[in-house]
Symmetry: C2
Subunit: 337 residues, 2 copies
């Protein structure tokens, strides 16, 4: 039986392209004792993968060349020599961009059984998975959302931003998003229930963006969930209240090497702000609590989300490149079966 895989073929200079990836077919090895064969049903593509394509010091080790692109997956156990899994188990793991994965079933955390009776399978890669917990950590542990203040979220229509805003609303904050284009802004306010959404594409300079933010946040800004950086972060700082807190989750504006200076860092001082960068995989202790809240909200449909789904393993690179350009709406998945 053959396994189709996407490898990192070369490192990008600036914007990545399809040439950086290569599709290969390899035979699936026979299972060693304790191992499990998982057939992937969905792959996750996420902005953090752009950082791993570089050979630079970052929070994650670089993705090695000529290896399967690492990433979250959900699937089904199709063969097991582990006491912990049986054929037919639905599981979430980090199987990478390939149709099948062989996983050591005895390593706790590498593979986790999931229950899809109330929560759809794909949601375990979105609001009830890494993106959801990322949003939860930023809103709960860094921003410390509480009733009455204003929360701003960039990339608000995305997998992380959409959850961050809804968690802020659930905690009683006024929530304002940034998104690109009228359709995404409509989704952010009408579907996700944000109080307002600013289309950053019609505000290409700081003056215009600041003016829009002033209207959307008449009482200033108390918390900011940052996925983008650059102009948006500058505009937010100019409108921040005393003791405002910023969860720095991503800075996609600079992922291809563009300069994204923070123009007025002195505002961090005059407003006695806290800004904290984080990566959710370093805070595994919060996952159970976060997943409980997120799972309950998804099951009860009080947390809304969207998925953009590409079909087939060969579509993964293009889906990823589209994600980096904001072509997706909500969580970008690749469906394999």
């Amino acid at each position: 039986m053959l396994n189709r895989q996407i490898l990192l073929a070369s490192r990008p200079t600036g914007e990545p392209s399809l040439d950086n990836f290569r599709l290969v077919e390899t035979p699936i090895p026979s299972l060693a004792d304790g191992h499990v064969l998982v057939r992937h049903l969905y792959l996750s593509v996420d902005p953090y993968m752009r950082g791993r394509m570089n050979d630079a010091k970052s929070y994650a080790a670089p993705q090695p060349l000529d290896t399967v692109m690492i990433g979250g997956t959900v699937g089904e156990v199709v063969a097991s020599r582990s006491a912990h899994f049986v054929e037919g188990d639905q599981v979430v793991g980090m199987g990478g961009w390939q149709e099948y994965a062989v996983v050591d079933g005895s390593h706790a955390g590498q593979l986790r059984k999931i229950d899809t009776s109330h929560i759809p399978l794909g949601a375990y890669l979105g609001p009830v998975g890494m993106p959801g917990v990322t949003a939860w950590y930023g809103v709960e542990k860094i921003i410390r959302a509480k009733p009455g203040g204003t929360l701003v979220v960039s990339a608000a229509s995305g997998a992380v931003g959409s959850v961050a805003g809804q968690l802020g609303r659930a905690r009683g904050m006024r929530v304002v998003g940034f998104a690109g284009g009228p359709e995404k802004c409509r989704i952010v306010t009408e579907e996700y229930g944000f109080d307002a959404c600013i289309d950053y594409k019609v505000h290409p300079d700081l003056k215009s963006l600041s003016a829009a933010l002033k209207i959307a946040c008449p009482d200033g800004i108390d918390g900011h969930f940052e996925n983008v950086g650059g102009l948006i972060l500058d505009a937010v700082l100019l409108r921040a209240n005393a003791f405002a807190r910023v969860a720095l989750c991503g800075m996609i504006a600079g992922y291809n090497g563009q300069p994204i200076p923070m123009l007025f860092p002195q505002l961090l001082l005059t407003n006695r702000m806290t800004i904290e960068g984080f990566i959710v995989s370093e805070h595994m202790e919060v996952w159970p609590e976060a997943l409980r809240e997120l799972g309950t909200m998804v099951a009860s449909r009080t947390l809304r989300y969207r998925e953009s789904i590409a079909e087939g393993i060969e579509a993964a690179p293009e889906a990823f490149l589209g994600l980096l350009k904001g072509k997706n709406v909500g969580k970008q998945l690749v469906r394999l079966a």
Copy 2:
């Protein structure tokens, strides 16, 4: 009896000058019931006063025009109609730039009795006063200094920086300072016991400053106490370790309106850093604990400090302007008697 006072006469555009201040003589009013007359022995001049000269949104309300410059003072009670003070009491307060102050003795915190048997009077405006507690808060509460890491301190020869570095050393950190000129650097290492000090004046660009920092901090940077901003903050970020923490206490590089962009804010994310701006007067709850440690260290001479002393109320504006240009060494005081 006449009281000589320095008023804020006008607001500076860019760099302040002597013209912004005016010396006046006013009669001392007779004391109301509950009030105390204090004769000032020392005035404090501090960098934060530059911010209050502007009519801009900041953490402190602007200093109103034609009023006595606000500032810390130590002195002696020369008349009292308060049950809480008697003639001869030595006190610390916020009496401002004037020879005498009338203070309501019933307002807790406006005036505090001090004991000069083991701690010199002037130290209550320096290491055992606001600058010392500022250093303590940043090192203890924001940076969370602990043995083994490297702490960097800008304006290391100053009233705050010198204490911050010594507190870091007392907590087992390797401590590296920035100061301007060989004499200040000598004081920082030889007198204050820092492990190294970088003369920023011989490193006018980021490349040169980064190279010097790399040599001084072979194991990277875990904590940074920032008084300056600009180039120094950029260089520190480039050398920061994962989970490094920055206490943002001052950004004197931008106090006259110079742009001081942070060039690489994405490092806050990739290094999962925390940066926090603060002003110590908003954390009064830590003062007793901080003053206990600082007072013990000064009394036992394990905390070293220096003072630059100007003579007479009329010298206060020039002492303040010199402070902003780094002409002082250690705490800048004005002696009145």
